[in-house]
Symmetry: C2
Amino acid sequence: MSLIDRLADELARLPGVGRKTALRLTYHLLKAPPEDAGRLADAIMAVSERVRTCARCGNYTEQSTCAICASPRRELSIICVVEEASDINAIERTGEYRGLYHVLGGRLSPLDGIGPAELNITSLLERAAMDGVREVVLATNPSVEGEATALYLHKLISPLGVRVTRIARGLPVGGDLEYADGVTIAEALHGRREL
Amino acid sequence: MSLIDRLADELARLPGVGRKTALRLTYHLLKAPPEDAGRLADAIMAVSERVRTCARCGNYTEQSTCAICASPRRELSIICVVEEASDINAIERTGEYRGLYHVLGGRLSPLDGIGPAELNITSLLERAAMDGVREVVLATNPSVEGEATALYLHKLISPLGVRVTRIARGLPVGGDLEYADGVTIAEALHGRREL
């Protein structure tokens, strides 16, 4: 196999990259200055070799503890539970949350063979039981599995005397009532608040 | 800057890859086995370092002469002129062409400062003047610049006593007359043939 085909094959394994896009990217890298290709290859190797997960919360980090867990300015009384470390980025971008995180590493999905033992639940319970923790926000995805996971965690954490909350479901900001699905509209009505 | 941001930045420099896609790919590479990331980085470096252009036709190759120029089974009497080496791949996939190629390295585009001196035209004229060459097929893109380039080459090559042809323009196979642009329909009418 030619080197061009080999690179196109590797690129086509990436999510959302088809055969044509892979070839287009390959030819782009061929025409680009060698430094550009080198920097991309270096960046891939660096991420793969040097990024690991925070020993406490599971966030991506280059140290043993992530920047959020190590920060003296975060509220230690609140823990936000997410499915994947990449979800932390989405929440951090809002700038609206100042607490800590906990990465489950997935969601309950019996059909895929993912039960409680496959997720970072034991460490979550240990953290939730620690002194000073007052609230656990369940920010798993608003999907069937995400909801089931949130319900399961709620049952486990509530007895610890900690407040357990769930992020709100409703119409996305900028969305259109006309095109929203019925379940979302029902949730938006159900979760309505006083103005 | 974090290694994750660095990789996302490098990926976002690729054509057609926006900031969100770059982040999604970055997280994919983080979750993938390290061997996968390593193979991708290796493939990028290999292409960048070891793929060069054929000394004769300008096609991509890992040797000094490309597989097409080196093949004893290609017709030496016909040369197909393309703008970019990546165009060769598109023509080869059809399996309909058995001759040689010549890569211009672009097309005439005065506004971008690309004149005849910036393209591999001298070497094309040398090849077209060689004994045994009977036809030069101009397969530059059917764009304004591609047409201008084809006309320019036609004027240069015709005096050499070589047949100069241009790939046909018309309706793409599987296309729809109703949605075709007027210029394409006009070309299709103009180039009509007996059944």
